[in-house]
């Protein structure tokens, strides 16, 4: 169930001192699922004073054994702590929302007099996969009037992060920027985003035009170990057959749309 990215930060001065063994924060979570954050540490010779969890420097959970109750959660936007499943070494967020995304840090502090402190952190992003495929649209009249070429738009479904669109003509990816028209992303409710991409289609022959929309966090910088599973990556296509006569001004456009394929990426596990 959990894809875990493990980042270990060590603040080691002496082996006997307090140190963080491991802080485990899942890199991506699909909205609505629970996320468990782990903080493994060694106290050395010290007594625990506090374990504090921060998201983006804002404390949302602390464990202080001397206090009653020792567990205390603060209400943050997008953070909902399940206290019953949280303790001095882990905290459970349930469910995660798109607002849960952030830098999560665990700080462990020893009691007086040293107040030695160690911390580890990791980033978690929450994603939302599109429920519908991209749609290809065109303006019949305008296309007729222009005659020599045809203009098509492809618009993705709502997702987080935004889908990336690309055009294929007869199976060949269009890279000529003269043919492509980009638009700013369109913001929707709950932080969802849709994107669009325009294409000038040369006329005079019959061709197959395809628009592909991909949603995946794998391009995020620094995540060299991008792992896709069916829940975290999504790719959808829309296809169109363009028929063109040798006559001067009339075009028959047949919307074929026929293929709707959900490509599931295979799960790749990164073993550390």
């Amino acid at each position: 169930m959990f894809v875990t990215f493990i980042i270990i930060s060590l603040l080691i001065k002496e082996s006997l001192l307090l140190r963080i063994v491991r802080v485990a924060v899942p890199s991506y979570k699909v909205r609505g699922q629970p996320a468990q954050l782990d903080c493994d540490y060694e106290l050395g010779g010290d007594i625990l004073y506090s374990v504090k969890w921060y998201r983006d420097n804002e404390e949302f959970y602390r464990y202080m054994p001397k206090y009653d109750p020792p567990k205390h959660a603060y209400k943050l936007d997008g953070i909902k702590v399940d206290l019953s499943k949280s303790d001095d070494r882990k905290v459970l967020l349930h469910p995660v929302t798109l607002k849960s995304t952030g830098q999560f840090r665990c700080e462990v502090s020893a009691e007086a007099p040293s107040f030695a402190s160690a911390a580890g952190e990791g980033r978690m992003e929450v994603i939302y996969l599109p429920r519908e495929g991209p749609r290809i649209t065109g303006n019949q009249q305008e296309n007729n009037r222009r005659g020599d070429s045809m203009f098509l738009n492809c618009t993705s479904g709502r997702s987080y992060p935004a889908a990336v669109l690309s055009w294929d003509i007869d199976g060949e990816k269009v890279t000529d920027p003269a043919l492509l028209v980009e638009y700013p992303p369109i913001q929707h409710q709950h932080g969802l985003v849709s994107t669009a991409l325009g294409l000038h289609v040369p006329t005079g022959r019959t061709m197959q035009v395809r628009c592909t929309a991909r949603v995946a966090p794998s391009w995020r910088e620094g995540s060299e170990a991008v792992v896709g599973n069916s829940q975290l990556a999504d790719s959808k296509e829309a296809m169109l057959l363009v028929k063109s006569s040798c006559g001067v001004s009339t075009l028959n456009i047949m919307l074929l749309t026929l293929s709707f394929a959900l490509l599931l990426s295979s799960l790749i596990q990164l073993e550390t």
Binding site: S9, L11, I12, K13, L17, L18, R19, S50, K52, Y54, D56, N57, E58, E59, F60, R62, Y74, Q103, R105, S109, A112, P113, S114, F115, A116, S117, A118, A119, E121
Partner: protein
Amino acid sequence: MLVSVPMTQLVAIAGEPVYLPCDIATQDEDDAVLLVLWYREDLGTPIYSVDARERDFGVAERWSDESVFASRAYFLPERRPAELGVDRVRASDQGIYRCRVDFKQAQTRNSRVNLTVIVPPNKMVITDDKGDVKQAIVGPYVEGDTFTLKCDVSGGRPRPWVKWYRDEVEVDTPATALQGNAVRGVIHVGPLTRADVRAALTCRASNHLRAHPIETTLTLDMNFPPLTVHILGSNQPLSASRRYDLLCQSSGSRPPASITWWKNGHRINNAKETLSSDGNTTTSTVSLQLTKADAGAKLACRASNPQMPSVAALEDDWLLDIQYVPETTVRLGTNLDPKNIREGTDVYFDCIIKAHPYVYKVEWRHNRKTLVHNVGQGIIITNQSLVLQGVGRKTAGNYTCVGFNAEGDGESKPFSLNVLYAPTCRSSQQRVHGVAKQERAHITCHVDANPADVSFRWTFNNTANSNEVSDSYVSRSGTSSTVTYTPHTEMDYGTLLCWAHNRIGKQRVPCVYHIIAAGRPDQVHNCTVVNASLTSFGIRCAEGFNGGLPQSFLLEVRDIISQEIVANVSSAVPRFTAVGLEPGKTYASAVLAYNAKGRGDPYPLRASTLRPPEKHHVHDKSLDLPRTAFQISGAMSAAVGGGGVLMVVLVLFMVAVRQRCAKRKPRSAPPPSSQPASPDKLREKDDSESDDRNPDIIPSDTDHMQLDYFRQQQVSTISPPPGNRAPRGSVAGVRGSIPGYCPLRTIPPSTHPQAMHDNSTASSSIPPPARFASGACTLPRGAGACASSGAGIPLQHLRTLPRPLPAPAPAPRHTPRDTPL
């Protein structure tokens, strides 16, 4: 790490305090700060903590890591935001600090501070082109130099900037980074001018606006050659007779100029230098006494910079114009032989003058007396010449000429003009010698001659003939010649003639000496009373012929009544003063001359003392007399008796004298050539035959009282005293009758009415003196005598001459010249 924790940037200067902010403010009143922890990001444990969990925050336990801030840190919770103060920040304090604040309720607050510690540069080294390290002064350079200074700065963090300033104005200078954290700033200076001296070149380096820059200032030192040199007051004439302090000033040299003085290329060493307060002007003073020889000399003042020997010295010149007192020389006319200038020659002199400025006047002096142009006297002065026409022996002497200019009077050395002349008879010598027979007389002939190398010839003339005197009787001493002469017979009396000659010529007129038989002196004459006072009077006479022998003179003063001598004064000259007399009384006086042969005739005259004024007016004779008589009545009889005795003695004495006088008279007639008086004063031993040299000229008091008594008695009983006018009248009267002394006593009033005139009232009562033959007594040998005749006397004279030649012929002929007196 912790990228999301907010971070504050702080910059601190090493050594200064810094305050690290940390917000501990609570949102809720119920909330409280439990714990404040300061971490340094590279360390796991806090470096500072405030633990307020179990106590009030004000007394919370504070702890500071000894290895980090230790006691330098202190928490300041009262500030907003609260701060952790750290004193004396070190370079090692730089880093990121995190402050964690645990609240009782609120979320934990984390904040960060990025502390940058600025370490100012601490080392600055300035080097010049040679690589020498410069610290306060750069140079010295000279005008036109260019140079470069490098300022290397190191030790700072971050790398400092380096700038050069000139007199606090920034100079655009390139700076380059060096190895390490060092920076080099380079300044190019020059080409230098004089204005650049003492420029302040400052290299300043810093690495933060708040950090104190380090800097080094170098002062530009330069050497300059002197710009000016001037001899002050130059080119004015100088006086040779004065000492001058001459000043020479030079300015513009740095270091100050050294000034030297030169005269015609020779260094003058006694100069003294002074420096103006700004050090720019050197003044040299030299004290010079210049001489005439310095005229036209070049006086130079040279100024040079001792530090710049290669630069030629600056020089100011002065061609000396020396003024001096005229230098004069008297030069005799070139065609004249100074050793052979004879009387009557014309002589001229030139005055050779060297003078600057030239003389405005030339003066000639003869024996220190200024000569005046006088053609009549033959003194002609033109320009610088003096002409003396017809020089005589009086013209001889020292001649000088004097030139006058502004510097003074320059008198030449004297030129001694020697005028040669043939011998002439010297005046003022004894012309008549009275010599007794067999007496050996020395007759000396004195001549004036130039040259004085003279020889003499003597001749003896009498009425009969003229003979050369043998040289064996003659001796010579310079311009004098003495003949030893002893008359043996009457014929040996006559005239000796002395002739001298020198190389100039023979004496034209001989010196004439009359050898006569020696006798009594003649009577004095022209006697007058002078300086009469209450108790004294003086008498002066002209002396008569001395009889051929030295004579002396005698004054006798007698009481008219008693004929008693009250004063007796002798003298070498006929001038006397009789003292100790009674006031207001007239005395009978007589002056006579005497010599070894006897006494001359007395010259009688009356003289009176002055009368006291009060007696003259107040005292009546009748009132006075009894009183006087009573006062002295006790002594009266004795005094009268004494007075009588004195009178008898005096009368006897006078008789004896008169007899002697009468006997000798015929023989004592003067020679005809001997003029009225011959004042020769050859002193010879007094024969003392004429004694009467009573040393008691001033009578004793008792005598005086006696005389006074007599006078008073006489006046009171016989006649009233003569008036104040009387003594003068008496003197006049006596003068009128020259042989008055004799008549006073011997001749009745009828024969000499004038002499008796004043004494007319008293004369009747005067007892007549002893009888003298009036003719014998009054026969004078001087001029104007009562019986004088030129005819008779030569006969007497001739009678004494050894030879019967007509002697009068030569004698009268020569006497006018030889006896100018």
